[in-house]
């Protein structure tokens, strides 16, 4: 998720400062990005430019489907990323940037939640490990 957020910052800059058309911006992003996020940009661009006449939203959703299988995304992660795709490229720059800000906030919140859950689980497993060890020692003696 952190990688996606970093890449989205680059995409936002391309749109805001470069006014780069979406297919070209995706190509640039794929060039700098790392696996597996790289595949999300590559596939979105491929769907967008395959001549089928897909809109950015449709291309994004198709690419997300295969990406979610490669990356360990939760249902919430997927839902937020899908929401971002709605109306993608159909608004002016200001509206587009608002969508980016919203997405970044949502992703930050999800990442925070994921980290909290991880910390809690870490603590739980550590405690369970200690208790299991103590139980084993008691049983042995």
């Amino acid at each position: 998720m952190q990688k996606i957020r970093n890449d989205l910052t680059l995409l936002e800059m391309e749109i805001n400062y470069g006014a780069t058309p979406f297919p070209q911006a995706l190509e640039k992003l794929a060039h700098y990005s790392q696996w597996p996020v790289k595949t999300l940009w590559e596939e979105t661009k491929a769907f967008l430019c395959n001549g089928e006449g897909l809109m950015a939203e449709e291309a994004w959703n198709r690419a997300l489907q295969s990406f979610s299988r490669k990356a360990s995304l939760t249902v919430d992660d997927l839902s937020v990323l899908k929401d971002f795709g709605a109306g993608l490229g159909q608004a002016n720059r200001q509206e587009q940037l608002k969508k980016f800000k919203l997405l970044q906030e949502q992703l930050r919140s999800l990442q925070h939640q994921a980290e909290e859950t991880r910390t809690k689980k870490e603590r739980m497993w550590r405690t369970m490990g200690m208790l299991s060890g103590i139980a084993l020692i008691i049983l042995l003696y």
């Binding site: 749109i15 006014a19 058309p21 979406f22 006449g53 809109m55 490229g89 608004a91 002016n92 720059r93």
Partner: protein
């Protein structure tokens, strides 16, 4: 004023269907795409415009007449059968495809109401204008799209070129192409520029041309690169206002000929005088039906009355787009032209803020023009 009567019709070269499949169809959603893909080569050759309007039938302008798409996707005369009605959703999809899902990247184009596709095809858009301090800064909620197909017709200027070259001085006459809308003046100018740039064997060796393509229609630039053949020695300034563009090209590219489309603004005329002053030939077009009508217009009239253009080509749609009605051979400057030019120049700069400084500078220019011509 001697007239050379000449009637010729622009030949529509058969270009196959590939250009349409490559340049236009990818930007149309289904079912429009599959229906238009069925258009015969003959119809495509004559197809001029595709007009999409929300909640209205889809109209195709073919050979000057309109037909519409029926619910089954066939072409029918307007009024015959039940037409296919374009939904709001399909309009949104078309706009998204035309912009490559990048409306944010087209704010400048949308503020002018059009964008250009690869291949030089012009897409006109209307909808709800976004304003800032009284100026259009963009558009949203699109309601109409006009896809205007641009096709190079190499050779349409063949019969014209010999009349526009002064063989004795190996120069091109200052030329104005006058035509009503849709009669092929841009197409003719494009081929004329190509031939004057590349040269015509035994007639003209070719020359450096500066082309100011304010509306991206002549060279059909896509991201600054001409999509149409406008010649080996042509430098294109795309999307630039004509007046500023002419001056920029004059300073930077040392052209022998400057070509512009649709002269008519006050500032354009001042730049034309600058070109004449610098010894650069001007080849331009203007909207109009005949010379008399043009001469009565406030701005263009000044140029016409001063005989700036030595050749005026009148076009019409009488025998289809590109019918050359007449080539007028207009005599050079008269002895009293200095006065006439000065009066004319003060007329069109007289009402702006720089009247005094403008008048003295332009009078000097006018004298220089007169002396050069003696």
């Amino acid at each position: 004023m001697g007239n050379v009567n000449l009637t010729s019709k622009a030949t529509h070269h058969s270009e196959g269907k590939e250009w349409f499949s490559r340049d236009i169809l990818p930007y149309l959603p289904n079912p429009l795409r599959s229906w238009l893909n069925k258009l015969s080569e003959e119809r495509l050759t004559k197809l001029e415009e595709i007009r999409l309007r929300i909640n209205k039938p889809v109209l195709l302008q073919i050979g000057g007449g309109n037909v519409w798409l029926t619910e089954q996707g066939n072409l029918a005369t307007v009024g015959a059968g039940s037409p296919f009605i374009l939904s709001e959703e399909l309009m949104l999809k078309t706009v998204t495809l035309l912009s490559q899902s990048s409306l944010y990247a087209l704010e400048t184009e949308l503020s002018q109401g059009y964008l250009t596709l690869k291949g030089g095809h012009r897409i006109g858009l209307t909808g709800e204008a976004l304003l800032e301090q009284g100026h259009i800064i963009g558009m949203k909620n699109f309601a109409s799209i006009n896809i205007r197909l641009a096709r190079a017709l190499p050779g349409v200027a063949d019969s014209l070129v010999p009349h526009l070259i002064d063989q004795s001085h190996q120069r091109v006459y200052h030329t104005l192409i006058v035509s009503p809308p849709g009669a092929g003046k841009t197409t003719l100018l494009r081929d004329l520029v190509r031939q004057l740039s590349d040269g015509v064997p035994g007639l003209w060796p070719g020359a450096k041309i500066g082309l100011v393509d304010e509306r991206s229609e002549i060279a059909g630039c896509f991201r600054g690169i001409p999509q149409k053949d406008v010649g080996l020695q042509t430098d294109v300034l795309d999307g630039c206002p004509k007046a500023e563009g002419m001056m920029l090209l004059l300073r930077s590219m040392s052209p022998k000929i400057i070509a512009v489309d649709e002269l008519g603004r006050k500032e354009d005329i001042v730049s034309v005088w600058e070109m004449l002053n610098a010894g650069v030939t001007v080849v331009a077009t203007a909207h109009g039906y005949n010379l008399e009508e043009l001469a009565n217009r406030p701005i263009m009239g000044d140029l016409i009355k001063c005989n700036v253009f030595e050749r005026v080509v009148l076009l019409s749609r009488r025998l289809g787009p590109g019918t050359v009605e007449k080539i007028l051979n207009i005599s050079g400057y008269k002895k009293d032209e200095d006065h006439a030019i000065s009066r004319s120049l003060t007329h069109f700069v007289g009402h702006n803020g720089n009247w005094h400084s403008g008048r003295s500078t332009l009078r000097l220019q006018a004298k220089a023009i007169a002396e050069n011509k003696k």
